[in-house]
């Protein structure tokens, strides 16, 4: 494995929903400025794992975690959750722009963090939309509703919205699964430019997508008791060409999952 700085360090990490164990003893280092893909069959805890990094699981009653997660060597569960979510942004499976104008959608985060200056906001909105490769399509319609955009544009708007708060990490939960192939391709191209400035963790159902876009791949599976566990982790090229585990090979060749 080539040496890069570790952004997210996960140690013996488990998640429980009440009595049900959703994730078991995950230990992994996620490198900075790389795209790390999480693949695996449905219900294996990919999303639960992803949502641990911005503590979205906190919203679900009776959730309990064990083990440790570090963001730049800082205990993730010791950081104030509002501060954490500013540093770790998220793009959801289905585009979820707010029923507001395009401008207000992107400016929402900075405003929530106290920025009022109109000129600064306009600057951030323009830069974020450019970074999300949406600016040229919407620059004349910033006061149009975000819901008036196409699905792919909506998802890029959501990416712009996440970028506007200048996070360090961007979590993506199957960001292209609700999009058509062309919109998917645009998002994938976008990821390659974004990784220069951001650490990206992406959950995907689509193995070709993982192979195309990611630098590292984690393969999750579900144990007998339905708890998710990490089967194998490594550079994407190796996982897809010569996996160490038989299970990984079976999965990527489509024998199960």
């Amino acid at each position: 494995m080539e040496s890069t700085r570790t952004k997210l360090k996960v140690r013996d990490f488990s998640v429980f929903y009440g009595d049900f164990q959703a994730l078991r003893d995950i230990t992994v280092d996620i490198p900075a400025h790389r795209i790390t893909a999480i693949i695996g069959p449905s219900g294996c805890g990919k999303s639960t794992f992803l949502r641990a990094f911005n503590r979205m699981n906190d919203l679900i009653p009776n959730t309990r975690v064990q083990g440790r997660v570090f963001l730049d060597d800082q205990d993730l569960f010791g950081i104030d959750v509002v501060e954490l979510r500013k540093r770790v942004g998220m793009v959801f499976q289905r585009p979820n722009p707010f029923p507001k104008t395009i401008f207000d959608n992107v400016a929402y985060g900075p405003r929530a963090h106290g920025l009022r200056d109109r000129a600064r906001l306009a600057e951030i909105v323009e830069r974020s939309l450019k970074d999300a490769a949406l600016w040229d399509e919407v620059k004349d319609d910033l006061d149009k509703s975000g819901l008036a955009l196409s699905g792919g544009q909506q998802q890029r708007l959501c990416i712009a919205r996440a970028l506007a708060v200048e996070p360090e990490v961007i979590l993506m939960d199957e960001p292209a699964s609700a999009l058509d192939p062309i919109a998917t391709l645009r998002i994938e191209e976008l990821l390659q430019t974004l990784k220069k400035n951001y650490t990206i963790v992406i959950v995907t159902h689509n193995m070709q997508q993982a192979a195309r876009v990611s630098d590292y791949t984690m393969f999750f599976n579900m144990a007998e008791d339905r708890a998710g566990y990490l089967v194998e982790y490594g550079p994407t090229k190796e996982i897809f060409t010569r996996p160490r585990e038989k299970l990984t090979e079976d999965y990527i060749t489509g024998r199960f999952g």
């Binding site: 979205m56 959801f92 722009p97 029923p99």
Partner: protein, 312 residues
């Protein structure tokens, strides 16, 4: 189904006959049902048209500018117009809505957005919340005169507010609170979870999320509830009979007695000979309610269009 043993051909013919026979029967029963449904719909509409039409035809005869702009003169003959009752109704509506809306919307926000968290933390609070929820359900079905009696006992007598706009406004607010809470709750529950998650994931606090995303998205539903409540206040009679008094003078302050349009209709019809003026006032009332409904339709459609991004 049991069929006598027979050749395949016979069996096939038999099945076809059975099928067509039952098809005819099914079509007939559908026709009967349609006729019944159509009749039911027609009767309902006819009854409504008749009532409204009767009131309008009777009422329009006395409606003119003078009727609208002169004050009632009182007495058994029911002389004069309805100017002060229009103004009083307006005062009453504004007062009631101003009192009930913040309380009702606030309660709904608490019940939908925050109750679950506090329920988890404390058993006692979760009991209180359960009682509050049941209370709202029950209050929504209580007859308005009960609110009137309550208002009379508490505001008019115990708090010594007398028969007044304030007593009536407070009682009216109690009456419409359950309506506002329930419609607001439904509007809030209809806001997709993904909006809340999207906002929280940007590092907005729960309160910022509620004010910045959830409430604006729920606004059309909340406004509909408020407008419905306005209609209720305009239409209610019994509750104001025992809290507002019945003075036909223009209320000079919050502590003045007054007479709303609905109350005026009741008083004209029961205590004077001016039945046609009661009809005239009723016609105005009906027009106001129809207007309100048109406004609800218009605003909710406009909001819906804006939500879908059809217009700005």
């Amino acid at each position: 189904m049991l069929l006598p043993v027979s050749s395949d051909a016979q069996l096939a013919r038999r099945t076809v006959q059975l099928a067509t026979g039952s098809l005819a029967r099914r079509k007939l029963s559908q026709k009967v049902a349609f006729v019944f449904l159509w009749l039911a719909g027609f009767l309902v509409v006819a009854a409504l048209v008749w009532i409204i039409g009767y009131v309008m035809v009777q009422g329009v005869r006395v409606i003119n500018l003078e009727f609208l702009t002169t004050r009632p003169a009182g007495g058994v003959s029911g002389e004069g117009g309805i100017s002060t009752t229009i103004v009083t109704t307006l005062y009453l509506v504004v007062l009631t809505i101003v009192i009930a809306t913040p309380l009702g919307v606030g309660a709904a926000v608490y019940l939908v957005e925050y109750a679950e968290e506090t329920e988890r933390e404390s058993r006692l609070v979760s009991y209180l919340i359960a009682i509050a929820r049941t209370g709202i359900e029950i209050l929504a079905g209580v007859p308005s005169i009960i609110f009137g009696l309550f208002g009379f006992a508490l505001f008019v007598s115990a708090m010594k507010l007398k028969f007044s706009l304030l007593s009536a406004g407070l009682s009216g607010a109690c009456l419409i609170l359950p309506v506002i809470i329930r419609t607001s709750e439904e509007a809030l529950l209809a806001v997709p979870r993904s909006y809340r998650e999207g906002s929280l994931a940007l590092g907005a606090t729960k309160w910022q999320t509620t004010v910045g995303v959830v409430l604006p998205a729920a606004m059309p539903g909340i406004i509909t509830g408020v407008i419905l409540s306005v209609g209720r206040i305009i239409a209610e009679t019994a509750i104001f009979w025992v809290t507002l008094g019945g003075s036909y003078r223009l209320p000079a302050s919050l502590l003045s007695s007054g007479r709303s349009m609905a109350l005026h209709v009741y008083m004209l019809a029961s205590e004077t000979r001016a039945f046609e003026k009661a009809m005239g006032t009723a016609a105005i009332l009906i027009m106001t309610i129809v207007m309100l409904n048109l406004i609800i339709n218009y605003t909710s459609r406009r909001f819906a269009a804006r939500m879908m991004g059809k217009s700005r």
